[in-house]
């Protein structure tokens, strides 16, 4: 087992750092967000003991849904061992004393930055996204008053203007991350800076997906089994990235790959960005060999 069991928490703080009033406020925003899939709910984002851009929105959402029985996994760009992931995991170990894990299947709450795990999520899991800019229309419309009206009136022509620009400049839709989606045929939503490779995983997902933007003070959500459709043109349909080679560590051909520089002579390799998925595939191979 890879679970690091629950331990005593630092009682100088309330459970999971935030006070109960704040968590109630955030849970109310979450309930509203779940009730209106894809709609950005404003909330009174708190100062957190980390800088904006380091996942303050995601951390507040995680803090509000976490129970002492939960098993927490934190990933950054798919990896459990990067600075951001490690420090957030430590933060909750200290303030909530919850069990933690690197294995996707074992986690009940997964906080993520920029990836969705390769392994299919289940209805027992909650995926919490860290979101820098929640407004998909912001690129072309700087006025918040106007973008809120555009959402209210389903006035989304502008979203396609952005995709049009992509095709006219690059010959194809060059947006590769934060690729806009339409939720339940109603709200256009920014899936946070995940690669568009992960967009299909959001559609009809069994897990509850929650999005927190700390600096922008917005929460939105996808309840389990919500329809999530990536925007496109009839003659330029949505496509995910594909690689010429499989993962050079585990041989997977259906995962999102990172390019890793291995020496000073320009040597590089392509490996799964989801470190847990890659490791468990390799372990399964070596166990089978034994």
């Amino acid at each position: 087992m890879t679970i690091e069991p629950a331990a005593a928490r630092d009682t100088g703080y309330n459970f999971a750092y935030l006070n109960e009033q704040t968590k109630k406020m955030i849970r109310r925003a979450l309930l509203k967000a779940v009730a209106i899939p894809g709609y950005q709910v404003p909330f009174a984002s708190r100062e957190m003991p980390m800088p904006y851009g380091w996942g303050t929105g995601g951390v507040q959402v995680t803090a509000s849904v976490l129970t002492p029985e939960d098993v927490l996994k934190v990933i950054d760009q798919g990896a459990d061992d990067t600075t951001n992931a490690v420090s957030i995991r430590k933060f909750f170990k200290r303030t909530a004393g919850v069990a933690t894990t690197e294995a996707t299947a074992e986690a009940s709450v997964i906080q993520t930055r920029h990836r969705i795990p390769e392994q299919k999520l289940t209805s027992d899991q909650i995926l919490v996204y860290q979101v820098p800019i929640p407004e998909p229309l912001r690129f072309l419309e700087p006025r918040e008053t106007e973008t809120r009206k555009m959402h209210a009136f389903e006035d989304y022509g502008l979203m396609h203007v952005k995709l049009y620009e992509d095709i006219s400049q690059h010959g194809h839709i060059a947006t590769t991350y934060a690729y806009p989606v339409k939720v339940e045929g109603r709200y256009v939503m920014d899936p946070s800076p995940t690669p568009k490779f992960d967009n299909p995983k959001m559609d009809n997902c069994a897990a509850l997906q929650l999005f927190g933007a700390g600096r922008e003070k917005r929460i939105y959500a996808l309840p389990p089994f919500t329809s999530v459709v990536s925007l496109d043109f009839e003659d330029h349909p949505f496509e995910v990235q594909a690689w010429e080679h499989p993962c050079e560590l585990c041989g997977a051909r259906d995962t999102y790959l990172d390019e890793v520089i291995v020496d000073d002579e320009g040597g590089r390799m392509f490996v799964c960005s989801d470190t847990d998925y890659c490791a468990s595939r390799r372990q399964a191979v070596s166990e089978a060999a034994e």
């Binding site: 072309l140 009136f153 049009y164 006219s168 043109f233």
Partner: protein, 256 residues
């Protein structure tokens, strides 16, 4: 042609103590181009913006007769008004920068209204945009350039293309040729007039330039101090102005 396209009655608008439009009533009929002339500050632009639903008037009714019947412009819901503004109506601003998106290409500017009306086929949008670039005499090779690289006259023509691409029935124009040099102005006038004729659209054109008004409009309204002081066919108003102010206005035009 038994009902007007637009019917304005008793329109009033003040900004604080300043009255901008006072008890203005008129009908616009299909195929008509109505010129609104008068000096700056006479309330022309406020009138235009009130009719187009961009400003809420204090009193009065504006009825637009769409295919489905009479619509009260200031009583309809905002989504309904916005739908009208991106389908059957168009608004050409005096400054092209107010009517264009400067951070996306000319093609995207022209195509936006199509995409807002659920066009989802890139090649179709693009060929329509090319057609309209040609219609407003902009080199097709400029389709992917940003409008900020265009001259003032080109920007204004781009704005017109962007507005007319959905074949609106009613076009509002606020000083469409203001700030352009005369040769560009002539080109634009020619363009607007042929579009009006070929597409059978109606227009309300605000201008302080009587020469522009004469060439573009079938009918004129003269405004002074927030009121319409005279109206009639363009040649009636310009050749036989009745009100003292209209006579002054007409006699002040420089002849070339």
């Amino acid at each position: 042609m038994t009902t007007p396209l637009l019917s304005v009655s008793g329109l009033h608008k003040s900004f604080g103590r300043t009255v901008a439009c006072d008890d203005i009533s008129f009908d616009l009929w299909p195929g008509e181009v109505l010129g609104i002339v008068g000096e700056s500050g006479s309330g022309k632009t406020t009138l235009l913006r009130s009719i187009a639903g961009l400003i809420e008037p204090d009193a009065g009714e504006i009825s637009y007769y769409s295919g489905e019947g009479a619509l009260d412009v200031h009583d309809m819901s905002e989504p309904e008004l916005r739908r009208l503004q991106r389908t059957e109506w168009a608004f050409v601003h005096q400054h092209p920068r107010d009517g264009l998106r400067l951070n996306v290409s000319a093609g995207a500017n022209i195509g936006e209204r199509l995409m807002a009306n659920d066009w989802r086929h890139y090649d179709n949008i693009r060929s329509e945009a090319l057609k309209w670039l040609a219609a407003v005499e902009i080199d097709e090779a400029r389709i992917d350039d940003l409008p900020r690289t265009f001259s003032g006259g080109m920007q204004q023509r781009l704005q017109i293309a962007r507005n007319l691409i959905t074949s609106p029935r009613l076009v509002f124009m606020d000083e469409p040729t203001g700030g352009l040099d005369v040769s560009v102005q002539a080109r634009l006038l020619d363009l607007i007039r042929s579009l009006v004729r070929d597409l059978g659209l109606s227009a309300i054109v605000v201008t302080h330039d009587l020469a522009v008004a004469r060439l573009l409009s079938t009918r004129l309204m003269v405004m002074k101090d927030a009121r319409v002081i005279e109206q009639g066919l363009t040649d009636q108003v310009l050749e036989d102005p009745q009100a003292a102010y209209s006579q002054l206005l007409v006699s002040s035009v420089l002849q070339v």
